[in-house]
Symmetry: C2
Subunit: 415 residues, 2 copies
């Protein structure tokens, strides 16, 4: 079953917001065997929206539309849909009640402009929006299903989970897709490809292999398409097994999860705990861990030690060390990791100190110079890296590299 | 000048990665007066790519293509472009030298598969990729420019900045677009719209107003299109001034910058410093600050105090307080913010403690219960919030709400 996603709104086209909705929707749809053929972002412009709808309807059986449902004048999705379907607008009772309920909940007066939120094209079925005033809309027109939802991510997400996905399952006869993802770290895409070339050549036609590189990691995704789920699962498992055996230690986990989640899972299984001392990554590494439910079983927390004073106060880094070698040095990063283990009392700790840029570089220590230490159970890894001159990338690379080092240390401890 | 962006790769369509490239490209293009008409994400499928190229060429004069340039078998962009243009492939000398240079830099052997990276369609001009082996490609075909770049964000970003944008400026005669964005916090989209309805109605036809809501904030974006830059700038400034005067204290700053950056700027101007004590936000708030260059002028750092022990050790929260009232309580959040001010010696501090979920909720304190305190210069704001039951949203809302509270406190201090 093919679907398309159309996101409506100038804010994506001028780059003011990143479209995170589409990836989330595509992932959820894949789980139920709906494959997204194309994602199109178009402007708040009637003719453009009409054209995009017609193009998508020629390619797919289900079309998801997000955005342009707000109460303000630049939001034209509803009227455009009514024109596309050749129907008028009507007030929906349930949608109006929902608007009134939400305004009552927040003790705000219900303005006339808010009541307009309950006006919908006459041929639609309403999908309740628990978290906002714009109703979702379901249309079945000439054999194609159209679902229009708000662009605010959490409104759309609840609506998909509670209303749209169950309704799709009831309405459609869905074929199957099986994905299996192997997370690897520390080896480039082309080297992996060379090492498993013969396995890739031997893949049956119903299985596809994709390489998804991202900052020092490569995900290998095997995807099987068809109707015989047992055969598909067997094929995917068999080839995944062959690849895992071949690539050896660069393999981390056979799940489509982020590296830090794989580490949290490993550590939770073994009852190990972790803390951090972050300087140049400024909380990003902690955020990677703590975004995951259940991270508190493993992750105690740590210090964001941007200033010299906090390195001393929170971690006990010696002022003499900072004075003699500077904050970005092997000596400091070691004292940081030791300070984290000692003060935060975790089994393992990570420390990172570097120059994220764009300022603060010197000839000796240019922007992108980063020291990372990981330590625990009597083992210590310390390494200096020279990344690039983009701040955000230095932050992300430092964090991912630290994760990779911790993964290595954990593997060594387990062996 | 209209452009389109086509991203190629199944990984976006199955939701494995979020397309951050397009937003970044759109933003950079807007700055030079190139307006993105549509963004399309299509699969690694020859027919689909050919169709998307033809559709885009019918609407726009410049087409940017990202992705599908890796050395592995699922990457088919180059061959498909050659077929689209009706040309053969050739080896490019500069591209091959670049591949050799990069492999030499990392001391890795140059495999045959890597040399394939230097094979490009015969009608292209190479754009150097300093950070990777896949060259960028520039085509001029039937009056339309096509630019193909790697999908790896930082490779694409460098290539755009160093090669593509300068070349576009030299090649095209560009019209002008002016945007002015007003950041507001604490008032909903429809209330703002109601308050400025008459100003919006009086906008001249060359100026458009858009509302961009996001987690408690609404950006009001005025966009002017045309050739008379002076007139456009005057019009935009005049209407921005009227809106700012009307909306009063919900207005934060007349720049398209994030709320935390506006706060950093305000504090830097006044020489004020900040630290944090984060529990349920787990580093996310610190990351918001530290992602910005120059944040170290204002931001000292702080504690990620996920565990009871770290709340006590780093911040000096009393064990009796935790035992009597729990970690998620008014008493604890106050001791946390006081502990941050005392121990980290900043002018202002933020503390956050709550239940991000999905586990850990009780009847008294359901998932989504969050206490936030901001304090400094003798002032203190403490407030309890009840957000929803989605972890990531609770983290983001807590951080943004804390920022909003700090903004209020800073405004009060300044008044």
């Amino acid at each position: 079953m093919l679907a398309e996603i159309i996101t409506i709104g100038d804010e994506i086209l001028i780059g003011q917001i990143v479209d995170t909705n589409s990836a989330w929707m595509a992932k959820e749809l894949n789980k139920i065997g709906v494959r997204v053929k194309q994602i199109s972002s178009v402007s708040d412009d009637k003719e453009h929206i009409l054209k995009a709808l017609a193009e998508a309807a020629a390619r797919a059986k289900v079309i998801f539309i997000t955005g342009g449902l707000g109460p303000t004048k630049d939001d034209i999705t509803k009227k455009t849909l009514a024109e596309y379907f050749g129907v008028g607008m009507m007030e929906d009772k349930d949608a109006l009640e929902n608007v009134a309920r939400i305004f009552a909940k927040y003790n705000r007066p219900l303005l006339e402009v808010n009541k307009l939120q309950a006006q919908v094209p006459a041929n639609c079925e309403i999908i309740l929006n628990k978290n906002g005033t714009a109703p979702g809309m379901w249309f079945n027109h000439d054999g194609v299903i159209y679902v229009s939802m708000p662009g605010v991510p959490f409104e759309m997400m609840y609506m998909m989970e509670d209303g749209v996905i169950p309704k799709l399952k009831n309405t459609l006869t869905l074929p199957s897709i099986i994905h299996k993802t192997l997370l690897t770290v520390g080896e480039g895409e082309s080297f992996l490809a060379e090492r498993i070339a013969d396995i890739e050549d031997a893949l049956p036609p119903y299985i596809k292999l994709a390489y998804l590189p991202k900052l020092g990691q490569v995900r290998l995704r095997l995807s099987a398409f068809g109707d015989d789920v047992a055969l598909m699962q067997k094929g995917v498992d068999e080839f995944a097994g062959k690849i895992i055996e071949r690539i050896g230690r660069v393999f981390v986990v056979a799940e489509d999860i982020p590296l830090e989640k794989a580490i949290l899972n490993k550590m939770a299984e073994k009852g190990l705990t972790l803390s951090v001392a972050e300087s140049c990554t400024g909380g990003y590494l902690s955020h990677l861990f703590t975004q995951h439910a259940g991270s508190s079983k493993v992750f105690f927390g740590g210090g964001i030690v941007y200033s010299y004073e906090l390195k001393e106060h929170i971690l006990g880094v010696k002022p003499e060390t900072l004075a003699a070698f500077g904050a970005v040095s092997e000596q400091t990063v070691k004292e940081m990791v030791e300070g984290a283990l000692l003060n935060f009392k975790s089994d393992f700790a990570i420390s990172i100190t570097g120059i994220a840029g764009p300022d603060g570089g010197t000839e000796d220590k240019p922007v992108g110079t980063v020291w990372i230490a990981v330590s625990g159970m009597g083992k210590l890894l310390v390494k200096k890296y020279t990344f690039g001159n983009k701040r955000q990338q230095n932050i992300e690379r430092s964090a991912v590299t630290a994760l990779s080092m911790l993964n290595t240390l954990l593997t060594d401890v387990a062996d």
